[in-house]
């Protein structure tokens, strides 16, 4: 319970600040942009319905990512992701790619960057969703304590989940991250 409820303008600003991040995160977890939008929309609606109970300005981001994480895990347990990782990326990039000349020579660095990104996407997609959530939340700057809270597991369990995610990703991405031997 907060002493003073945030104003509608404060809540609007909070939504604006967090929505892209939350939606991008949800999209990477459920691998379906439309489902991600539905999940994030529903999480915002539930949180804001109780804005008198929570201090959303102070704790909202943590509560939001916790709600999104749980909703995404529930969603993927109910129904495996329908769209492939490629479809998610292709749909997102469709307009940009349509603007490019497909015959034009692509800089090699850009091609390598894209290849690496696809490999990371594939590797992430093969992780169990809690592992994916853990490493993505860490990559977004959340502490391990926060990751544990968001996944609703103990700190020790969060460490194990994160370790497994990193180990699997390291194995799958080894060709991309191995330093060339002199």
């Amino acid at each position: 319970m907060t002493s003073t409820s945030p104003s509608a303008e404060q809540l609007d600003a909070w939504v604006s600040e967090t929505s892209r991040r939350a939606l991008g995160y949800a999209a990477t977890l459920v691998r379906n942009r439309q489902d991600a939008e539905d999940i994030v929309h529903d999480c915002y609606r539930r949180l804001l319905a109780h804005s008198d109970r929570y201090d959303l300005i102070r704790d909202g981001t943590k509560l939001l990512f916790r709600a999104v994480t749980n909703a995404c895990i529930n969603h993927t347990q109910r129904r495996p992701a329908e769209g492939s990782w490629e479809q998610l990326e292709l749909s997102a990039d469709a307009d940009q790619r349509a603007m490019r000349d497909p015959e034009a020579a692509e800089p090699s660095q850009e091609a390598m960057r894209r290849e690496l990104e696809e490999a990371v996407g594939h590797a992430l997609a093969q992780l169990p969703v809690p592992q994916r959530a853990a490493i993505e939340l860490r990559s977004l700057g959340h502490s391990l304590v926060e990751v544990a809270e968001m996944l609703d597991v103990s700190y020790a369990n969060a460490r194990v989940i994160l370790h497994r995610a990193r180990t699997t990703l390291a194995a799958k991405l080894q060709p991309f991250i191995e330093e060339p031997r002199p």
Partner: protein, 60 residues
């Protein structure tokens, strides 16, 4: 669980961060306020007073 190199973890984290940030960049937050073809119109995230950033409907 402690035999991994911190540098290796940092490399993995950096790759994932770059990937997730790229995905986030691609997200058009304004789509939150739009309805989806073939689906019932979703209540707008907001008070509906002005266009722009996503708005949230508060319960009375």
């Amino acid at each position: 669980m402690t035999d991994r190199q911190p540098e290796a973890d940092a490399t993995i984290d950096r790759l994932v961060r770059r990937y997730v940030e790229h995905q986030i960049e691609q997200v058009d937050a304004e789509r939150l306020t739009t309805s989806c073809p073939g689906q019932p119109e979703r209540a707008p995230l907001g008070r509906g007073e002005s266009p722009g950033p996503p708005k949230v409907q508060r319960r009375p």
